[in-house]
Amino acid sequence: MENKLKELKEEALKQIEASEALDKLNEIRVAYLGKKGELTALLKSMKNLSNEEKPKFGQLVNDARKVIEEKLEESKNRLAAAIREEQLKTEVIDVTLPAKKNNVGHRHPNTIALEEVERIFIGMGYEVVEGPEIEYDYYNFEALNIPANHPAKDEQDTFYISDKILLRTQTSPVQVREMEKGKLPIRMIAPGRVFRSDEVDATHSPSFHQIEGLVIDKNITFADLKGTLAEFARELFGPQTKVKFRPHHFPFTEPSAEVDVTCFKCGGKGCRMCKGSGWIEILGCGMVHPHVLEMSGINPKEYTGFAFGVGLERIALLKYEIDDMRLLYENDIRFLKQF
């Protein structure tokens, strides 16, 4: 019987080895290990053995069963792997075929530039606020130290609605509105549309955008203004960016400055973009004029502050190398898609 078992085992293993399909393996399993299988039959014939031989033979049969089962499992895995392999081979695709896109829309370059500016200042603790686009003369001029008949009013080519109401020429009136609220300290930026009566051409538009910044607190210094804008410029134009503060004049700040940054195209060596100077003017700023603080109900002896104004289109045009401002308001999809 032991020989028979041995033969049976050999035969089963041989058949398993030779089989090349999963159903064939299953047939083998049934034929040997099934209820009516040969190994089962052998086990049944054990009743003819002596009591001493029974456990020993039982052990042998179980061992053989285990070997066959293992072999079956192994072959099954081998065959399954081969089939998977075959399947994968047939499923090769051309990965260079076109993508199926959702055709997501594109944000206006002005907005992209604005959001970058906002991100930088929000990170520095500034709140983003807004003010009306149609504004009182008082907020746009008078409260900013530009009294009636001040030449600056002419310089700015204002659109008037009435003698008291106009289209704001700058976002600076938002400064005044924030200061009047009386909540100090203030750290704000105010982006928005402004209007000046310039005919439309490649570098002018009667409607454009500014971003106003204002910080009012105790002990705010010109050095703080320099540090803040230097940080801003590095964030916006890259860590190598240097800034230059030049004295300038604005009625509502004193001292005032214009700020140049090293040309981000040539890095300051001089190129067409910076007209060979290596520098690009990007904003105006200064310490809030004591008159302006007073008019807004803030005591200039106690509080100081700085303000700045950035032309959004200027940043967008420079940053994205857009050569004609008119493109920004045409909304040609072939233009918008590039951002």
Binding site: H108, F159, V215, F222, P247, R334
Partner: protein, 806 residues
């Protein structure tokens, strides 16, 4: 303001500086140099030569061969110039040298023109004699230059010397951008003072010596100022026996470099002093002045006056006039009269140097429609104390140039002398404001350079009247900062109470609008806030439409930009039309922008500015695509309750059968629709256009970022499908409203899964199928629960004429 550096150096003699260094330093101290032009640009190896001999060219009629002594040797030069003669001294560019341009005076090449020896018609030539144009200059600056030919130098020129130096062309003309507060810097002396302070050199202004003969101007004429407000000071002097002649070359050259055309000695002196002192002056022909007096008074309403350019000007009573005893002779500060102007026959003249109210001059110049060099200066508000200095300087030059005989004395009507202001000097405060620790002494030395005196007794800085821009301590701080150096001030970040950086709720919602629109394929557009009133007709708005009540701009850039938009549609349709016209297929755009709704017209208070979220598209998608975008947005901003669509109210610009107002509960939050084909035609868009406009101020109050987790359903749901037949005019919205209101507490969701009109359905009817899902949160639903709900729904459906399909 354009000024040659040599003129600045005339008052700051120690200033020796390269152009770029000057540019950088002046810009950093606040006198911004816009650009500069080197007058000796591309001029190399050019010396004074003397023509020793001229011979005819053997093979060319128009050329001659010159032997030219250049000091070290004599070289042969062939030229075609018509004006050369033996003995003349001329500028010669030698072999290997360079000139600025061609002889025709056309625009100069960037790198000039290189000159090499060569042969002209077979005869060797070792250099070139130069015209003034080839030297990059013009007849304006060198009036003695011939019309066509070589520039002939003065006889005293030394052969072999640098000809550019002889010509005074080692110079550069600087263009400055002067800020409006620095009236004093609209003059050569003002800039020179700044330059001296910037470079720490001595400033030496011209010394005006006493002038005039023994006569007294008061014996000839008197001056009466009737409007002291508008004319704080009026100085007048007289010049007799005028000898009109060209002014000297140095003066002509300086004026030409400033862009002023030299005319004759009298005009040139007036212009010269205007540049030098920033004080405009006017000259009247004494012979034309009647009544031996000058009266300064306002014009009569409607008065007419002929200015010296021959134009008749209409005046009003706000405009200040200069009159003699009988008639008007000039519009104060703007232009003199035709009747009193200086002609070539002038014998005696009256010189006027006055100070007028800047604002009045500016407004008057606008009214008269005449902005002159003089009014441009006056309108900035001049220092009255400068007028006397300037007129005396002009008289000094008249004497020096022998242009006439200056009469002694000066008429000076000056009622309220302008005195220097005083500002308290608090060095600690200045350091506190700047964030610096500049010693007091250093600040004082800056003030000294700027001619600001310090009164130690009162601790005040005394501000000279020419510095009208200095009014308070912050102004002193700027003076300190400018000359200490903005670049020397440290960079720090603000300290103090921490603040939270954030976007407002409104801006956060707008950000979501942008994101959703873009996910849905829409790109962001920006259009103008102003438009033409004609757009109302394009949009087919009835005459009484509220949308026609727009805020109007008083001074628009033409009618097309004359009203503030009351609807965002035109901007969107224009943008779509631009794209359609450019053959861009399938365009989807959105815009976030304000409309402006007046509370009343004309405006007495600010109009309401309402942010509109506008979506527009053509080419791909339909009404329901647009509706999808609207609902995606509303869901994202937490508007979870059902939005309803009401097609009843008809908007004329939308397709009558394809439009709806969008409601949240009872609040109208916007509208959606297909653009009326007639409107699409107006905009020349040849495709169906879909629009949605969401009124953000209505949406903000219902938007929220609050979210609550409701758990994930544990118990199974029960779904019932119903198929209905109904008249076509019943909206599925009505079915949904019934399902919602009658579905009961277990109603979870419902979905339209089929809608059909056609062969198996009666004409005028449609078949609609819904699947309705019920679920309880705490148990498995029983048949009974669902049946009750379904019965309620079916009954209500029947109530509006809907039958279940058999």
């Amino acid at each position: 303001m354009n000024t040659p550096l040599s003129w600045i150096q005339a008052y700051v003699p120690d200033l020796k500086v390269a152009e770029q260094e000057y540019t950088d330093a002046m810009t950093l101290s606040g006198t911004k140099v816009e650009s500069y032009l080197k007058l000796d640009k591309n001029l190399e190896k050019i010396v004074v030569g003397q023509i020793e001999k001229i011979e005819k060219h053997p093979d060319a009629d128009k050329l001659v061969i010159c032997q030219v002594n250049i000091g070290t040797e004599t070289i042969q030069i062939v030229t075609g110039a018509p004006n050369v003669e033996e003995g003349q001294k001329i500028p010669v560019v030698l072999d290997g040298g360079r000139v600025a341009g061609g002889h025709d005076g056309s625009s100069l090449p960037e790198d000039g023109i290189k000159i090499k020896k060569g042969k002209l018609r077979g005869v060797e030539s070792f250099g070139m004699m130069c015209s003034i144009e080839e030297l990059g200059s013009s007849k304006e600056m060198y009036p003695d230059a011939p019309e066509n030919g070589i520039y002939i130098l003065k006889e005293d020129a030394v052969v072999g010397e640098d000809a550019i130096k002889v010509l005074g062309l080692h110079d550069a003309v600087f263009e400055y951008e002067i800020t409006s507060n620095r009236v004093d810097c609209y003059s050569v002396l003002g800039i020179a003072r700044e330059a001296a302070a910037t470079f720490g050199k001595k400033f030496i202004p011209p010394v005006v010596t006493s002038t005039g003969n023994r006569e007294d101007v008061h014996d000839f004429i008197s001056v009466e100022v009737l409007d002291k407000e508008l004319c704080p000071r009026y100085c007048a002097r007289m010049v007799k026996n005028i000898k009109l002649a060209p002014s000297p070359e140095w003066m002509q050259r300086r004026l030409a470099a400033c862009g002023i055309r030299p005319i004759n000695n009298i005009v040139d002196i007036t212009n010269y002093v205007m540049e030098e002192y920033g004080q405009p002056m006017h000259a009247y022909d004494m012979e034309t002045l009647e009544g031996k007096k000058i009266v300064v008074s306002r014009a009569k309403e409607g008065e007419e006056f002929q200015t010296l350019d021959g134009q008749i000007r209409k005046l009003d009573s706000s405009i200040l006039m200069i009159r003699d005893g009988v008639k008007a002779v000039g519009i104060a500060g703007i232009m003199g009269g035709e009747n009193s102007k200086i002609t070539d026959e002038v014998k005696d003249m009256l010189f006027e140097a006055a100070c007028f109210d800047g604002t009045n001059i500016r407004l008057s110049a606008k009214k008269v429609g005449l902005r002159t060099e003089a009014s441009g200066k006056f309108e900035k508000g001049l220092d009255p104390n400068n007028a006397e200095l300037a007129i005396n300087r002009a008289c000094q030059l008249i004497e020096e140039l022998g242009a006439g005989e200056v009469v002694g004395g000066i008429i000076d009507v000056y009622y309220a002398k302008k005195e220097p202001k005083r500002i308290l000097f608090q060095p600690d405060w200045i350091n506190q404001l700047l964030g610096t620790c500049i010693p007091k002494q250093e600040m004082l030395s800056i003030f000294e350079k700027l001619e600001l005196q310090y009164d130690a007794a009162t601790e005040e800085v005394i501000i000279p009247t020419f510095r009208q821009d200095l009014e308070c301590e912050a102004d002193l701080a700027e003076e300190v900062a400018r000359f200490y150096g903005y670049d020397q001030i440290p960079t720090t970040l603000p300290t103090g109470e921490a603040t939270t950086g954030k976007l407002s709720f409104k801006l956060r919602i707008e950000e979501i609008a942008k994101n959703i629109a873009e996910y849905c394929g829409f790109s962001q557009a920006m259009s103008y806030s102003f438009e033409s009133p004609k757009v109302y007709d394009k949009l087919l708005l009835p005459k009484d439409s509220m949308l026609r009540q727009a805020v109007t701009i008083l001074n628009p850039l033409g009618e097309d930009f004359s009203i503030m938009r009351t609807t965002s549609l035109n901007g969107m349709l224009n943008s779509l039309a631009t794209n359609y016209n450019r053959r861009n297929k399938a365009v989807k755009l959105y815009e976030l922008g304000n409309i402006y709704l007046p509370k009343e017209l004309p405006l007495t208070e600010l109009p309401e500015e309402r942010m509109q979220f506008t979506l527009g598209m053509y080419g791909e998608g339909d009404f329901y695509t647009m509706k999808g975008v609207v609902e995606e947005f509303l869901e994202k901003i937490g508007v979870t309750q059902k939005i309803s669509y009401h097609p009843e109210e008809k908007k004329p610009f939308l397709h009558p059968g394809r439009q709806a107002e969008i409601f949240y509960k009872k609040i109208k939050i916007g509208y959606i629709g297909e653009v009326h084909p007639e409107v699409a035609d107006q905009y020349e868009i040849g495709e169906r256009v879909y629009l949605a406009v969401l009124d953000m101020p209505e949406i903000l109050p219902i938007a929220t970022f609050d979210r609550k987790y409701n758990g994930i359903a544990k118990y199974p749901s029960v779904t019932r499908d119903i198929s209905m037949v109904m008249p076509k005019n019943i909206l599925v919205g009505q079915i949904e409203e019934i399902i919602e209101t009658k579905g009961g507490q277990y109603l979870e969701s419902y979905a339209l899964f089929d809608i059909y009109e056609g062969s198996q359905i009666m004409t005028g009817y449609k078949s609609v199928a819904y699947s309705i899902t019920f679920r309880a949160g705490d148990r498995t639903l029983e048949e009974k629960d669902v049946n009750e709900a379904m019965e309620r729904i079916l009954k209500a459906l029947k109530g509006i004429g809907i039958e279940l399909r058999q």
